[in-house]
């Protein structure tokens, strides 16, 4: 009995000690482990969902791959951890994952109070509403008195409440924990409308029996800049995540693609030479291989390629670039200079 008590006491002390012993930087931890652990969504087609061969596909998954490519030179050295919408930040805080790439909106209170930082916005999204075409509704303002289905997570419930409070309209909010039940309730007509980020709505529409029966309304009722998140107080790791994302954007701007990256190594353009590591030693400054940029583009392509492959016009989601076009094509995607 005494021994049992002693061992419990020892365990409690051990617990206390474990909290204080985390000296290694994230980069060291990741390198020692030999792979990146990346938190993604639970099966969201277009953003992170396994394909029929079990390989994780999607926009968020490719962001993870680009970081792995920067660190290891191989975009496949990633372990994808599907994270629950409620526990995603805890997974990051506790060190279970190295980076969270999960359609996560960058907001002030998350940045300030959760002990984490956000990288550059990878996807400019906004909350929208989807309705059946047969409802004959053309604007979200016409939806007063309607029942609206949503998930408890994120700020969706608050945004839609704010929207109707502003136009002084009443509505019925039906909140589901499971995305499947949420979709089923909408498709069966329990709710007139379903609300989520527009990217997510495109994903829900893609799995409908007949996607053409549904229409995403033009109203965007909130700003949802989706960005990867990482733990606070490790600026080296933060830089690696941020510049991996910016490298994708810069590569598109410079016309470097997965197919032509080898030729571009011989490019005369000094910017391209620096990005791909043909000259200077930018990679070393981040503690990475000098060819980190080359490795990223070789693994996943540039930003435009990642977008079109996962969520673009050729996919079931069929999204247009919109605000996610490059800055010089009327969009918001802009990388600081890589020099």
């Amino acid at each position: 009995m005494k021994q049992a008590l002693l061992s419990i006491f020892a365990a409690a002390l051990g617990l206390a000690a474990a909290g204080s012993a985390s000296a290694a930087t994230t980069l060291e931890t990741v390198k020692a482990r030999g792979k990146l652990v990346c938190g993604v969504s639970l099966a969201t087609p277009g953003f992170a969902a396994p394909d029929d061969k079990g390989r994780m596909q999607g926009f968020d998954a490719d962001i993870c791959r680009s970081i792995a490519a920067a660190v290891f030179g191989d975009g496949d050295k990633v372990e994808f951890v599907p994270t629950n919408i409620n526990t995603r930040f805890q997974a990051l805080q506790s060190g279970e994952i190295d980076v969270l790439s999960r359609q996560t909106t960058h907001t002030f209170s998350r940045d300030a109070s959760l002990g984490l930082d956000f990288g550059p916005t990878v996807f400019y999204d906004g909350q929208g509403l989807m309705v059946p075409k047969s409802l004959g509704v053309t604007s979200a303002k016409e939806l007063t008195e309607a029942a609206i289905c949503t998930l408890p997570g994120t700020t969706t419930a608050q945004n839609i409440s704010d929207f109707f409070a502003a136009i002084k309209g009443k509505f019925e909010l039906v909140v589901f924990e499971s995305p499947d039940e949420n979709r089923a309730a909408f498709f069966s007509g329990r709710c007139e409308a379903i609300t989520s980020d527009r990217s997510d709505l495109a994903s829900i529409r893609a799995v409908a029996n007949n996607p053409d029966d549904y229409v995403v309304l033009p109203d965007t009722i909130s700003k949802e800049p989706l960005a990867p998140a990482f733990r606070q107080n490790d600026s080296q790791w933060g830089d690696i995540v941020s510049w991996s994302v910016w490298m994708l954007m810069a590569a598109e701007e410079k016309g470097i693609t997965q197919a032509n990256v080898d030729e571009k190594l011989k490019s005369e353009d000094p910017d391209v030479q620096r990005m791909l590591g043909a000259t200077e030693e930018l990679g070393k400054m981040l503690g990475l291989d000098n060819k980190w940029g080359y490795n990223i583009v070789k693994s996943v392509g540039n930003y435009g390629e990642v977008f079109e492959r996962n969520v673009g016009q050729g996919t079931k989601l069929g999204m247009t670039r919109g605000p996610n076009a490059l800055w010089n094509a009327g969009g918001l995607i802009y990388s600081p200079p890589i020099r």
Binding site: E145, A157, Q158, V174
Partner: protein
Amino acid sequence: MAFLHDMRFRAYFYQIVAIGFVALIGWTMFSTASGNLAKQNIATGFDFLTRPAGFVITESAIAFEQTDTVGRAILVGIANTVKVSLLAAIFGTVLGLGVGIARLSHNPLLARLALVYVELLRNVPLLLYLFLWYSLIILILPPVKQALHLLPGVYLSNSGLVVPAALVESGGLALLACLLGGAVAALVIRIISTRRRVTTGQSNHGGLIALAVLVLPALLLWLANGVAVSWDFPTAGKFRLTGGLHVRPEFVALLFGLALSVSANVAEIVRAGIQAVNKGQWEASAALGLSRGKAMRLVVLPQALRIIIPPLTNTYLTVFKNSSLAIAIGYPDLVMVSNTVMNQTGQAIETIAIFMGVYLTLSIAISLLMNWYNAHVALRER
């Protein structure tokens, strides 16, 4: 140092040491967690409870607006949890009592049907039943535009049942007074008639008189137009029915699932309780000329009750805790509201601590109540 050999002192001493250890471990975990949170710049504390909630809760047992506080939102969740658990416990107990007695019926068809009912409900996880009931409701019933018009003002669709709401305009207090007074009088009459039956051995009509006293005053008041009621009939709005009283499918599916699960457990407890009563009691009742129904009601069930109460406590605790499965089918119970709060504030530890504390407190309250009732009906051996 004689007290060291005192058995009672040692018993207390060891208990105090054990409690001390548990408290120490708890405190260590708490201080480690809060220390780590502070180190990671994660906000802690319960300040968020006084902030405005900012979201709406469609189904609430107490009034709630978007501008109310987070604390009140959690209170709404608690009220919703209590509402659905209480109703499920009541319906489930009544149903389970019937099924449990049917299990022991001499009619083989009835007994087997009851057996199948119990086994089907007991052996599949409740969560799956909830999905089943909910899917059946939303897939089989038509959308609200083609709602079934059952009676004037009564509509049934996959958005739930809508019935006219009665708004008492005047005479409400008088009606309440009649009902309360009737209830008290009925209780008194019942106690007196039981006592008289016990002393004289004559059966009387105490039960019927009590029922009449309970119902008649309110009925007379109603017939004399003492109560003015206006009916709020549902009308077709742009998308759905407005006005009237809404019973939402999420609530119905959850209530149905919980009540059926309670009834299956209660049925088995009742069956076991009845079977545990000595066979001699049945024979003695028969010898006294009591019919089987009377023997069950007057002799066997009261004795079975003593055996039934302790396991029944477990069933009630289970239904209360199982109500947290509401989250799967969109009923805004405590867990669902807490989840939304957790997402907006990011303060998971505090929110989870609150809802665990609430479940613990209410569960212990149920236990205490049932233990008190158990002590009340337990056989007093002399």
